[in-house]
Amino acid sequence: MIQLEGIRKSFGKQQVLGGINLTVQKGEVVVILGPSGSGKTTLLRCINYLERPDQGVIQIGNQKLEGKHPGRSEIHRLRQRTAMVFQQYNLFKHKTALENVMEGLTIVRGVPRDTAAEIGIEMLEKVGLGDRLHYYPSQLSGGQQQRVGIARALALNPEVILFDEPTSALDPELVGEVLEVIRRIAEEGITMIIVTHEMGFARDVASRVVFMDGGAIIEQGTPDDIFQRPREERTRQFLRRITPEANYSI
């Protein structure tokens, strides 16, 4: 279980998060939507302390971190409970697909190399890259790189996987293969928090949708609640802009 309480964050004078409270149950797939600049990526990055919140409490499982300056080892332990899939993939460029997946296992978890390789191969097969084990990121397409990124996150068997706009940097024809992989692992009951702009995907995969604007959570609910019966005007505006109705005639 993940619990965020009163998370505040400012960059200079610009307040990005204005006291966010959010609870995510085990096995939930929470999709965070919102216009750009609404703070959704910052919120996600606060969960594993890639961004330090100015204030607030982050709890994952039985570990609790508070405010801006928790101890280095506390942050380190928190990060070991999470994994992240980045917008720009951020695969280790000098390592092959398999080495990318193994790295966290051998270096952080102390898993022996051959066990790590077995897990790595299994995870890469799961994302459909069993034939690309020894390719460097520069030899893979964006979609393939992102699937390696997902395999790298999965291999760590974390309590939650954080997805930061996993398809935003992809060519349109490659988006589908990545969403398909995420959809498949969502069905396995892994807890996920996903920031995305893919509305159809959000609707499909989410057990809960959270709508953010101006550094605050405006409303949350099931995909049907948010997409069919949004209560807040700002949510409606956003959905209108993102899914334009056919208000033209041919």
Partner: protein, 236 residues
């Protein structure tokens, strides 16, 4: 006085006696310089209080003064310090027992450290910030992330600059002759003076340095090819 090509060979053979000294000074100062440079670069990049200011002062002073000056300052200054300390603690150690070669190595390590810190800093800055974030996200500590992820990539991009530094230190090592270390340049002077054939001896020394430099260029080219394998793209 006429040009005597056959003497060049004689000179060449005698220069080989000094080759190990030149290589020793170069390798030690480059290796130590790389260590110093890395520490200095990290201190500055991570803005470690006190250490980063000291590091900046070190870099600007050393880069702002000639390499010959570093050698002379160490050669004349270090004995004062060492003998002073020895006197204070009542030790019988005197600076006279320190080989001249050591002064050259210490001085040139200090020189190399300052120049290489900039090479290392540029290399680290060239690595995408997302790489260290990804390393943190899989649970690595910062030292692990630096060692496993950042340094290998930084090394690959800084190789051309590093090989420049190595060549610079190789050529700079000739200054050691001013404190009577017999490296290639000093040896050339000796053979030249013995036989009154200066041009031939120095030409032989120049060719030897050129050969060494080409060797360094080749090695660095080969390393660059190997270390950048991952960036070439295309099919595996």
């Amino acid at each position: 006085m006429s040009f005597d090509p056959s003497f060049m060979w004689t000179a060449f053979l005698s220069l080989f006696k000094a080759l190990p000294t030149t290589l020793f000074i170069t390798i030690i100062s480059v290796a130590a310089g790389l260590v110093i440079g890395t520490i200095v670069a990290l201190a500055r990049l991570y803005r470690i209080p006190v250490l980063s200011q000291l590091a900046s002062a070190y870099v600007t002073f050393v880069r702002g003064t000639p390499m010959l000056m570093h050698l002379l300052l160490i050669y004349f200054g270090l004995p004062i310090i060492i003998d002073g300390i020895a006197g204070l603690v009542g030790s019988s150690f005197t600076s006279a027992s320190i080989p001249l070669l050591a002064f050259a190595c210490i001085a040139f390590s200090i020189t190399a450290g300052a120049y290489m810190s900039e090479v290392v800093r540029a290399g680290i800055l060239a690595v995408d910030k997302g790489q260290i974030e990804a390393a943190h996200a899989v649970g690595m500590t910062t030292p692990q992330a630096l060692r496993r992820i950042v340094f290998p990539q930084a090394l690959a991009v800084s190789l051309p600059n590093l090989s420049n530094s190595v060549i610079g230190m190789l050529h700079g090592s000739t200054l050691a002759y001013t404190i009577s270390v017999i490296e290639i340049n000093a040896q050339a002077q000796i053979v030249a003076a013995d036989n009154w054939k200066y041009f031939e001896a120095y030409l032989a020394a120049a060719l030897l340095f050129w050969g060494l430099t080409v060797l360094i260029e080749r090695m660095s080219g080969w390393l660059e090819y190997r270390l950048n394998r991952f960036q070439r793209g295309g099919a595996a």
